[in-house]
Symmetry: C2
Subunit: 249 residues, 2 copies
């Protein structure tokens, strides 16, 4: 647990501006004009926060005060019931928002954990709502992002409710590669940031089933696995699986 350069609650106040951020075409400010961007610069986001691998950005029960836009690094969110069951509900990468769960009750309802050393832009929620009253485009964009979160989760419900293990893992991998590709990374060579257990929790499977399914995919020539290094050699084959090919009559 390398914490040497990461003081838990450290924050940097220097030059945090959306208008020159490399993620501005993916993140919350999509579609804002230069003038609008200038208007929100230094008002919407004033600080970044570093979160070391394994640490929580926030945890269920914490007071909700801000949303977070992932700038670098990789997160997971988990819900847990009182009896200790828990479920990974999503993985977040650059440009994606964390904290939407807290708006309704003013308390966070899930845990957000960094899977690798990460930095997030802190978006004080009061400020976001205030600016949204001034900048209609910002409001619209925020609504779009919340809506997409809802749709994404419904897609996960489809996966959890009606897919076989192989279909789930295939869908998971394709989703991951699409998002990586949209950020300029390779869609075929993927370095997983999460354990088999975390993948399993997200997909409603055990870690053993995830491991076995990876092995099966490799045996079938769909990909190469070596620990967390994945090379996808047949994305079409994976898509075919997601489309239910293996169980059609």
């Amino acid at each position: 647990m390398d914490q040497s350069v990461f003081r838990p609650a450290s924050s940097s106040t220097c030059e945090v501006v959306c208008s020159s951020c490399n993620l501005r075409e993916i993140c919350l400010p999509v579609g804002l004009t230069r003038a609008e961007l200038a208007h929100i610069d230094r008002r919407l986001v004033t600080t970044r926060r570093k979160v070391a691998r394994g640490e929580m950005l926030y945890r269920a029960g914490d007071r909700f005060e801000a949303l977070y836009a992932v700038w670098t690094g990789f997160f997971k969110t988990c819900v847990s019931s009182r009896d200790g069951r828990d479920q990974v509900t999503g993985f977040q990468m650059g440009g994606e928002l964390l904290g939407l769960d807290g708006i309704g009750s003013r308390r966070h309802e899930v845990d957000a954990v960094a899977l690798e050393n990460a930095q997030v832009c802190v978006i004080p929620f009061e400020e976001l709502e205030a600016l949204s009253l001034e900048v209609a485009t910002l409001q619209q964009q925020f609504h779009r992002m919340m809506s997409r979160e809802i749709v994404r989760n419904q897609g996960v419900m489809l996966l959890l409710g009606s897919m076989y293990a192989e279909e789930r893992l295939a869908a998971f991998l394709l989703n991951l590669t699409h998002r990586l590709k949209a950020r300029g990374f390779s869609a075929s060579a993927v370095l997983l940031r999460m354990t088999r257990e975390e993948i399993g929790s997200f997909l409603g499977l055990t870690l053993e089933t995830v491991s076995r399914t990876f092995s099966k995919f490799q045996a079938e020539g769909l990909l190469f696995v070596r620990n967390r290094q994945i090379r996808i050699t047949d994305p079409v084959g994976l898509q075919h699986l997601v489309d239910g090919a293996a169980h059609e009559k």
Copy 2:
């Protein structure tokens, strides 16, 4: 399919005002002052729409133009993948919003089907966003509702990802009764508006498993079932199940 009194796209323009609606303490305008309510009356909602049992309020792919607040009746929402798999993602009753899935892409991403003759308040989305710029409280309330939708769905993911059939059905029933109770209905005598198959689809189970589990609950004295009439006699026992009692060591 009794359509005699329900013309599919019919709408009534008379006296549709939030300020005198019996659901104003549950629906979107929660927390608005009298002045604010007066401000949005006849602007936010101008029409109601009737939807007959079995008909769709909207379907996946339709252009998104409005949100809908359920006024009377009962709905389900379904996602389906191209290969014909489909999954009920939720059931909606009075005061709950439909259509949030369309904001992101300006197209609806799910189907919304009336499970009984229903009426919804039509909330043109452009108008909602415009009014949200004027009435900060309305904006806040809308954000809260979207956030709660996200949290709700994460709860469903927990259910689908890590619960046994009995736990799922118990959780489903308790959720239903809580919502009914909040609307002034009995929390013990419930008339299900959906088929076993729809319950099963929502819970990631087959209709047979749902049926068997109902029978088992009855045999254990947790409830009485008679078709869609449910009488819950031991809500604590059901809660105990949800909390994982049956599988604790």
